[in-house]
């Protein structure tokens, strides 16, 4: 018995040693650190991967922590590039900002729903449970199914911010993860209301999914209106640097704003910017 206990300890020790030693110790590699918005992070990581494949001695390190961290890290020089999923505030204008993509979300209804448009107050009332029947907003006499996004998703954050809501105030009937699930849920339920990325909604609606995109403030929800920045429920995804970018950071920003990454941007359901 004793022997086996010893063997177990030995195996654990060897395992730990292998684990610790397997970390790369090479220091000749150039490192580019990006920190900030968790909305941009997945996209930045994908762009980083492609960038690494073009520059073999570069490692792109993407860390999340929110747009505020992106701004403060870029200001303090803690990161080579900061990421912020909002426009710069007035007291942040000393930073250099580069928009790599736009993020817009659209309210969606089932195509069978008689309601053609909702204003900001109505949507707020529906999501906080003050309006619970479609007949109160000009639809059929049917209970509303409120579809909300899971916590931590950037779409939820943008939605709450635009309508001035707190997630604890929202009274959802269904909570969804990704855009696809949201579109399937609304397409399968004639009385549902939800919101997803504009890119995903427009594509699925054109492919015959039983959903329709609601205009907001009279502006059609589409990739085109997000791109020309007239659609209100949208925001820029920005890369930030303290000074004018140089060296590796400059190369990365030029790469991230070039058409070479448009497919990556569209894969994340964001809208590429025309430069």
């Amino acid at each position: 018995m004793k022997k086996w206990g010893l063997a177990a300890v030995l195996i654990l020790m060897i395992g730990t040693a292998v684990f610790l030693l397997s970390k790369p110790a090479d220091t000749k590699i150039d490192k580019l650190v990006l920190t900030g918005s968790s909305t941009i992070a997945p996209l930045a990581a994908e762009i980083g991967k492609r960038f690494e494949s073009l520059h073999s001695n570069v490692r792109v390190d993407v860390q999340t922590g929110g747009s505020s961290r992106g701004v403060s890290d870029a200001k303090a020089g803690l990161a080579d590039i900061g990421m912020a999923s909002r426009a710069l505030k007035d007291d942040e204008k000393d930073l250099h900002s580069f928009t790599i993509a736009l993020d817009g979300i659209s309210m969606i209804l089932n195509r069978a729903n008689a309601v053609a448009a909702l204003d900001k107050q109505q949507i707020t009332a529906i999501y906080t449970g003050k309006i619970t029947n479609w007949k109160d907003v000009g639809g059929n006499d049917a209970p509303i199914t409120v579809v909300n996004k899971a916590e931590g998703r950037s779409t939820l954050e943008l939605f709450l911010h635009y309508f001035g809501l707190k997630n604890t105030d929202v009274k959802p009937h269904v909570i969804i993860g990704d855009n696809q699930q949201g579109i399937k849920t609304v397409a399968g339920n004639p009385d549902a209301i939800g919101y997803v990325s504009v890119g995903a909604a427009e594509y699925e609606a054109s492919q015959g999914a039983a959903i329709k995109l609601l205009p907001l403030d009279g502006i059609v929800a589409s990739v085109a209106t997000v791109r020309d920045r007239s659609f209100p429920l949208s925001r820029p995804l920005n890369l930030l640097t303290r000074n004018g970018p140089t060296g590796l950071a400059k190369a990365f920003i030029e790469f991230a704003t070039s058409p070479q990454v448009h497919d990556l941007i569209e894969a994340e359901y964001f809208v590429p910017v025309q430069h």
Partner: protein, 284 residues
Amino acid sequence: MSLSNTDRQLAALLRVGALLAAVIVLLILWFLFKESWALLRQVTWTRFFTDASWHPVAGLYRITPMLSATLYATLGAVLLAAPLGIASALFNQYYAPPLLAAVYRRLIGLLAGIPSVVYGFWGLTTLAPLIGRLHPPGVSLLTGILILTLMILPTVALTVDAALAAVPVASIRSAAALGLSRWGFISGVALPTARSGLASGTLLAAGRAIGETMAVLMVAGNVAGQPHSLFDPVRTLTANIALEMAYATGDHRAALFVSGLVLMGMVLVLVGVAEWFGKERSYV
């Protein structure tokens, strides 16, 4: 008894294998603790049961609705799937003509092989709208239970079928010699003999139901509230992790690891109950 050289080598190999399996389980537990520690250090553990709701971004960590959702969904699915699965196995073994039985067994095997996301997709696009017509929103505890039932039914049917097939031929012949009716044989001989197979099949199915994620995530509605009826949307512990992990950071992420810990605890309790139950019964 002295072991031959080959035996000794095999024994050593098997011991390493067993040790590895045990170490992996312990490493998983250690990892879960390590990842949830950041949160467990700051908040008292009772808050996971007394907070107002589950809004981890706002610092509210109530886990109980998801714990009960997991329990209800598993229990409901097992209650439906166990009798159906046992009935299907009985039909297959004792009532179906051999050709039909062979085809039927293949079909059940096929059912077991369908990936869970396909069940989930079917549930979301077909079953949920149907139930929604009865009582909106359609995605609900009931939908989750029905999908889970479909998924674990083959597990029960196939294990019980195998257990019934292992009933000794001597017993079957003796029953026939005694002039027992078919049902008399089933209730008096076959089922009691295959008892442990029945129990293990049901427990295996319960284990699968607890762990199932994708299908439930798609059809159960995922609202982290205490369900009051079968038509209320629910969120299971596994769905909670899958839904929020991709975008969770800091304390939110740690809170998801806590739900992983709770899930692990639940499985441990289930295994413990099964063990205890198995011991009690084996002396009967």
